[in-house]
């Protein structure tokens, strides 16, 4: 029984919990056992919340025995990226500077998960302060891709993606600033969504780039991601950029899974040179599949998308250089070199030198440069103008089609160490995902097969206008159903080694 529980989807667990066929305690224990069995190899988790999770599960079981059910996710385990604050659990953001920090408050999304009865099973590994595409920038060592432990699981939410792919949790939450949910979902062969910016609360999410950071769900199926999307989203007065609008009907769209008559645009610019051949062939197949399901496919040009990556690497570092100024060694977190002689500024500089890793330092310095007088107009100012051009490209495209599609990332999972000290090569992993972050619209990644050359998963990215997140699920669920029918099983069933 316990081994099977970890193979069930969140929707299946929800149904079994509702009938009383299984208890929340059994489900939670099964996942804790799975973590104990495989996480020394995957390293998806920075902290496993065994005691808290079992306590929460016992509460849910008591409620279920009394006939109360909080939500469809009551009793379903969720892994939480270590960037969300959690009372009673450390929150490190993968950084030495926050090692041992216990936040005094819960993120709004943590609160919502708990209120929904979801079981917070642990905190997942990530690139330090969400800066990276491989989890290799974690101060606590990288996570490993469950498909091939010598490959990266993507990042920055690589721990969350790896946990779900390795059956350590049916669901996980992450954050997407430049692709940090969709790229790891793609390379781990699971589903991950960046909701519309402002659709999911940033309160209690340690800030990296505030105009871009967007929390979102991971699941092994489109419906599971939709269930978590709905549970975690919605207006939050504690986040001044939260959108006061109803959550789009994502669960209903995932159940409908119908693309007949939908207009789907293939983005011309997100293809060609630099893309792995197996990624392009699987993507082309996915487009043909959608057409065979009744969608009307056209090619759409977004001429400014090629400037999205450079604009992002000015905007995100600029915002990070400002946001990370809060780590000043004064009120919480690490303090280094306070010997009674040094002044506050020296202690601050020594602490930040020891507490931050190489990528975080690179981006703080880059952002400081882009915002400094004399360079502000030439760099940060120009990047903000490019952001406008990208939004205009999307507006024009969504005037012609309902959704846009592209590969989620140009390559399948790369080897650990391969790009670790080549920042520009690492940044290219986010080539396809950055435009939606800059525009603040919605996008997801859904598995569309394995690259023939290496047998690793490829993701299809679907992009929709702001607050039309339901369209993502409609398209992804239709593709998933058709692909699963063709393959005869979910994609993850093809993984070898750890997952078989």
């Amino acid at each position: 029984m316990p081994a099977e529980l970890t193979r069930m989807t969140a929707a299946e667990l929800s149904a079994a919990l509702a009938t009383g066929e299984v208890s929340a305690t059994e489900v939670t224990q099964a996942h804790l056992d799975r973590i104990a069995a495989v996480d020394d190899r995957v390293h998806a988790f920075l902290h496993v919340a065994a005691d808290q999770a079992l306590e929460q599960a016992a509460t849910i079981d008591t409620e279920h025995r009394r006939g109360t059910r909080r939500s469809p996710l009551a009793g379903v385990p969720v892994a939480v990226k270590d960037v969300f604050t959690t009372i009673g659990l450390p929150t490190t953001c993968g950084s030495r500077i926050l090692e041992g920090w216990h936040p005094p408050y819960d993120a709004t999304i943590t609160t919502r998960l708990k209120q929904a009865g979801a079981i917070v099973i642990g905190k997942t590994n990530m690139d330090e302060f969400a800066m990276g595409s491989s989890t290799e920038n974690s101060a606590f060592g990288p996570s490993h891709n469950p498909w091939d432990l010598d490959k990266v699981p993507g990042g920055s939410s690589g721990g969350s993606a790896a946990a779900v792919a390795a059956y350590e949790a049916p669901l996980a939450i992450g954050t997407d600033t430049g692709g940090s949910i969709r790229q790891p979902a793609s390379v781990c062969g699971i589903v991950g969504t960046k909701p519309t910016y402002g659709g999911s609360s940033r309160y209690g999410v340690v800030a990296f780039a505030s105009s871009l950071d967007t929390p979102g769900p991971f699941g092994r199926t489109v419906l599971d991601a939709a269930l978590l999307h709905e549970a975690m989203s919605g207006y939050d007065p504690c986040d001044s950029t939260s959108i006061d609008a109803p959550v789009p009907p994502v669960v209903a769209a995932a159940r409908e899974a119908d693309v007949s008559g939908m207009r789907i645009g293939v983005v011309t610019e997100l293809s060609g040179e630099g893309y792995q051949s197996g990624v392009l062939s699987r993507f082309a197949e996915a487009v043909e599949l959608l057409e065979s399901l009744g969608a009307k496919v056209t090619e759409v040009s977004c001429p400014h998308f090629k400037y999205a990556l450079p604009a992002y690497y000015l905007i995100a570092p600029s915002e990070c250089s400002s946001n990370l100024a809060r780590f000043d060694a004064m009120r919480y977190g690490l303090r280094v070199g306070d010997n009674g002689d040094r002044d506050a500024e020296e202690v601050m500089a020594l602490t930040r030198e020891q507490g931050f890793g190489a990528e975080v330092k690179r981006r703080i310095i880059l952002g400081t440069y882009a915002l400094s007088s004399g360079y502000y107009d030439a760099y940060y100012g120009k990047a903000q103008q490019v952001r406008t051009l990208i939004i205009r490209d999307f507006d024009a495209a969504f005037g012609q089609v309902d959704v846009l599609v592209s590969p989620s990332t140009p390559t399948t999972a790369f080897a650990l160490g391969e790009r670790a000290d080549d920042p520009m090569a690492m940044y290219l992993a986010d080539l396809c995902t950055i435009p939606s972050d800059l525009a603040g619209n919605a996008a997801l990644s859904v598995p569309c097969g394995l690259a023939p050359e290496n047998g690793l998963p490829v993701g299809l990215q679907v992009m929709a206008p702001a607050l039309a997140d339901d369209r993502l699920y409609r398209v992804a669920a239709a593709a998933e159903a058709a692909f699963t029918g063709r393959w005869g099983h979910p994609l993850l069933a093809e993984a070898k080694g750890l997952l078989s």
Partner: protein, 97 residues
Amino acid sequence: MPITRDEVAHLARLSRIALSPAELDHLAPQLDQIITAVAQVQEVAAEGIPPTSHATGLTNVFRDDEPYVCLTPKQALDQAPAVEQQRFKVPRILGED
């Protein structure tokens, strides 16, 4: 325009990061490469295009000024590196002179 090792050292000081000489040697050429690449934004961002700082279009979001339960002093100070008389204790902030 290339960025020099001295400029990176200056930026690190502004950023309050005490970079070691070895890190400066390593970071300076990487930053130069990154800045050269991101300078592409200058090719297309012509005069007259308005800047976008965030995508929601929201402006001036206010909340009502009402009392609510917030952190207690004990909770707020709980994670401080040093505390004295219910305050954060910090290194001196003024020089000798």
